[in-house]
């Protein structure tokens, strides 16, 4: 054990807030739907969306969970420009554990999204094979310009000590 430092433990509760500099826009919705291969007309056809009870096209639910689009900044040496806590764990391997999403309200083209990330937990344990693991759980809460809750994204990152 020892992957969970006092320094990291003290960061539980830390937040990072990103507000998009502009509204979502129809193009971003259409682009995402096309990229994932989802031809649901709710995302591109306002009439179909009206029929389903929406006032306009909506974004695919998982669209909101991609935080990079709300950020500004520069790409790192691996080309990545996204939210990161900058947690460094020497002599370890990082893997993504998974995601849990909740969706409360639809995203419309005129919405301006704010993502509020929080470190909600950091724990360590030893696997049955005797490997030390550090598990950091973060949660993003997404809201629109009216303060309405769009959804949440809980993500786990797992560092495994290299022997």
């Amino acid at each position: 054990m020892g992957l969970l430092t006092d320094e990291l433990r003290a960061r539980i509760g830390e937040t990072a807030v990103y507000t998009a500099p502009e509204p979502v826009g129809r193009a971003a919705i259409r682009y995402y739907a096309m990229a994932v291969g989802d031809d649901n007309p709710l995302y591109t056809d306002a009439e179909a969306a009206h029929h389903a009870g929406y006032r306009d096209v909506i974004a695919p639910p998982t669209w909101v969970t991609e935080t990079n689009q709300y950020m500004s900044g520069v790409r790192n040496h691996e080309g990545y420009m996204g939210h990161s806590w900058g947690i460094e764990v020497p002599n370890s391997r990082l893997v993504r554990g998974g995601n849990s999403y909740t969706f409360d309200n639809p995203v419309y083209p005129e919405d301006i999204i704010t993502a509020t990330w929080e470190i909600v937990d950091a724990t360590e344990r030893t696997t049955s094979k005797g490997q030390d693991m550090l598990i950091v759980t973060s949660q993003a809460t997404y809201t629109n310009q009216h303060g309405a809750l769009i959804g949440t994204n809980t993500e786990t990152l797992i560092w495994t000590a290299l022997s």
Partner: protein
């Protein structure tokens, strides 16, 4: 306006009822499109030199796309009356450019609420073909049918 009607008769759903599977080949081109759409330019998703240096056989599919596929599967099944309330997935194995994944799902629970019928699905994302393996499991999707 007439509210949408579910394409599925929710009154006939039972625990264990199967949802039509969703199968998708994720090409390198699809991955470039996804990287662009999500503002994620990490070299892991496209750069041959980066991948060779990391001893990876091909570009790695962004796992969050599985969430999008699980939503698509549930919505295509129920239709526009579906509102996906929750999606949960745990990664088991990396998926590489050019591989085909299949989302499978069965009904775990049907709950009648004031808002409508809530359907909880047990799902799995698997890689099909020569190197068949689990990509994400356990997974679940919760859909409200109003």
């Amino acid at each position: 306006m007439t509210p949408p009607v579910s394409q599925v008769d929710v009154s006939t759903l039972e625990v264990g009822t199967s949802v039509p599977p969703l199968r998708r080949t994720i090409t390198q081109t699809d991955m470039v499109a996804y990287a662009g759409a999500t503002w994620d330019w990490h070299q892991l998703h496209y750069d041959a030199n980066y991948l060779a240096a990391k001893q990876l056989p091909a570009a790695v599919v962004d796992g969050q796309v599985f969430g999008a596929l699980l939503v698509e599967q549930a919505q295509d099944w129920i239709g526009p009356a579906a509102w996906v309330q929750a999606v949960d997935f745990r990664f088991k194995n990396l998926v590489f450019a050019g591989e085909t994944v299949e989302c499978t799902a069965t009904v775990r629970e049907v709950i009648t609420t004031d808002e409508g019928t809530m359907i909880v699905l047990d799902c799995e994302v698997g890689v099909v073909g020569d190197k068949a393996r689990v990509a994400a499991a356990p997974c679940s999707v919760t859909v409200l049918v109003r």
